[in-house]
């Protein structure tokens, strides 16, 4: 088992390194002269070549790929994200401030999603193929087809504009978080319903269950001790994926609702070609993804030792 975890960790390290290189390559190869773009964004004017060269040197764009890579990677490993190319302020505090808006939103969305999907999935699977089950699948399919930003807009239209019940833009009050969280939660609920439902159905289909029942094990005990753990495996794996995508969804939703979270942070940074900001977000999200996948991977192998044997 130690070797299994070791293998997983090695993979994670390789993947993280690859991620770092890819991110850097992306920034490096962005067309147009990044130094010029940064300078223009910073000084808001057309500038002489001297100033542009100065910016280029400052941001470290005048060396070779691998030198620049190590120069770039070093501080990152110390979690030093440097300074904004546009505002000159340190990146981390601004990034952290943005995160304080995004992470709670993601969690709220997850909570709402779970609160909706778990009961629905359990109820639906009580009678597979029955009316509730088919309705649940239909709703979930529909939900998966609705883009989060459209849903958000519709909710704004309904609750903020027409009914005037809830605030829409910005993040001034906690009430401002309701619509974004609900938008996110509904989307998450749609996918989670399908995942949990199929997990339960698959676990129910295990061949040894009828034997257990014949031996007289009570229905509740069967559900608790045999169906639930087995259903947990695919559910947790896909859940891990969902968590990562939750972050993505939160990012989109924030842009719609004008919240000052990672979404707006990223979009502004890209438009202004503020590389330190952009890379901070990319590295952060990639890190979250890899860590979440790592955690589910380990959890998955702990629960079911068979799994490790089949890869590589």
């Amino acid at each position: 088992m130690i070797t299994a975890i070791g293998g997983v960790l090695l993979r994670a390290v390789v993947v993280l390194s690859g991620t770092a290189i890819l991110t850097f390559a992306l920034l490096w190869h962005a067309p147009g002269d990044p130094a010029q773009a940064i300078a223009m964004a910073r000084f808001d004017a057309l500038l002489s070549d001297d100033v542009i060269d100065q910016v280029r040197q400052e941001v470290g764009l005048n060396t070779g790929f691998w030198q620049a890579f190590w120069a770039w990677l070093g501080p990152l490993l110390r979690l030093d994200f440097g300074y904004s190319a546009v505002t000159g302020r340190p990146v981390w505090p601004d990034l952290w401030a943005a995160m304080t808006y995004t992470f709670p939103l993601a969690l709220a969305g997850l909570a709402i999603g779970l609160a909706l999907s778990l009961p629905l999935a359990i109820l639906a699977t009580k009678r597979p193929g029955g009316l509730l089950d088919r309705a649940a699948v239909a709703i979930a399919s529909l939900g998966a087809a609705i883009p989060a930003y459209w849903l958000g807009l519709l909710l704004i239209l309904l609750f903020a504009v027409q009914l005037g019940l809830l605030p829409a833009m910005g993040a001034r009050t906690p009430a401002h978080a309701i619509l974004p969280a609900v938008t996110l939660g509904l989307g998450v609920a749609a996918s989670l319903t399908r995942i949990i439902r199929s997990g339960i159905l698959e676990a129910r289909g295990q061949p040894f269950l009828p034997a257990l029942r014949r031996r007289g094990v009570a229905g509740q005990a069967v559900a608790r001790d045999h169906v639930a753990p087995h259903a947990a495996i695919p559910v947790v794996t896909l859940f891990g994926l969902e968590l990562a995508f939750l972050l993505e969804g939160a990012v989109l939703v924030e842009v719609i609702f004008g919240r000052p979270g990672l979404g707006t942070f990223l979009v502004t940074a890209i438009t202004a070609r503020d590389f330190p900001h952009v890379q901070a977000v990319v590295v952060l999200t990639a890190l979250v993804f890899v860590l979440v996948n790592l955690a589910t991977d380990i959890f998955y192998r702990v629960i079911d030792p068979r799994i490790g044997a089949e890869d590589a």
């Binding site: 920034l27 459209w150 239209l157 890209i270 890899v290």
Partner: protein
């Protein structure tokens, strides 16, 4: 399979023929009639520049659907090649290609696409590049899995012994096993591409004006949410119905395959 083919043909037909059905030029500006609700002359109303929304929707199919088709096929080709090379190319190729796949998977698709499209300069080509580069991984995993399982089958060994050339073995012995599963993945990716294109369009990073892409239309409509809320409904509905149709067809295919117990 049949429902998938049906849905896809329908959507592709829409993308190709849609413009023929459009009553107006989607870029024709008509300021006096701007922001009108549904009327006789403009069945779905007009946008802020007086352009007919129905026409824009129909032309938009080319962008939102056509591009999605292109992108999903591109990533299919890339991903399947990677997966097959991993399956057939030996242990080292397998390990390194799968780690590369993991690396690409580590990037949240949409965020990465936004960053790529944004940094490369907003536009159609960056869109295609961004979404293709972030979309091939699922194919690779599936292709590798199937490739590995087919590789050890009796008839493949026999074909190799008989001296059949590699491409012939791939065509006759691997393809029949690959096609069903890859199609299921492809439907999901096609839907994802539609959502991705419109998301990027909505953020302003995708297809640029005056091209009538559905997500971009939503972006335009948002500004006038209070005056003409209906404008917001149509592009969203278009996206939802297309994605739903594809997802349902894909589900039906997946269920049918599960019943057969995966032919081949």
């Amino acid at each position: 399979m049949r429902s998938v083919a049906l849905v896809v043909t329908g959507l592709v037909a829409l993308a190709v023929l849609g413009p023929l059905l459009a009553p107006y030029d989607p870029t024709a500006i008509d300021i006096p009639n701007r922001l009108s609700g549904p009327t006789q002359t403009f069945p779905l109303g007009t946008d802020a520049l007086g352009r007919d929304i129905l026409s824009r929707l129909l032309y938009g199919a080319r962008w939102s659907l056509g591009l999605a088709f292109l992108i999903s096929v591109l990533s299919l080709i890339i991903g399947t090649s990677v997966g097959l090379i991993a399956a057939l190319g030996g242990r080292i190729a397998d390990w390194s290609l799968m780690r590369a796949t993991d690396t690409f998977l580590a990037f949240p698709e949409l965020v990465a696409a936004v960053v790529i499209a944004g940094l490369m300069g907003a536009g159609t080509w960056s869109l295609i590049f961004a979404l293709s580069v972030t979309g091939w991984m699922r194919y690779a995993r599936v292709a590798r899995g199937i490739g590995l399982s087919v590789q050890s089958r009796g008839y493949v060994v026999q074909a190799r012994l008989a001296g059949m050339p590699g491409w012939s073995i791939a065509r006759w012995h691997y393809l029949p096993s690959l096609i069903p599963s890859l199609t299921v993945v492809w439907t999901g990716m096609f839907a994802r591409a539609i959502l991705g294109i419109s998301a990027l369009g909505f953020l302003g990073f995708g297809v640029q004006p005056p091209n009538p892409e559905w997500g971009a239309m939503l972006l335009d409509a948002r500004v006038h949410m209070r005056s003409t809320p209906l404008q917001m409904i149509w592009p969203g509905l278009a996206v939802v119905s297309c994605v739903l149709a594809i997802n349902l067809a894909g589900d039906a295919l997946r269920d049918a395959l599960a019943k057969d117990g995966q032919p081949g």
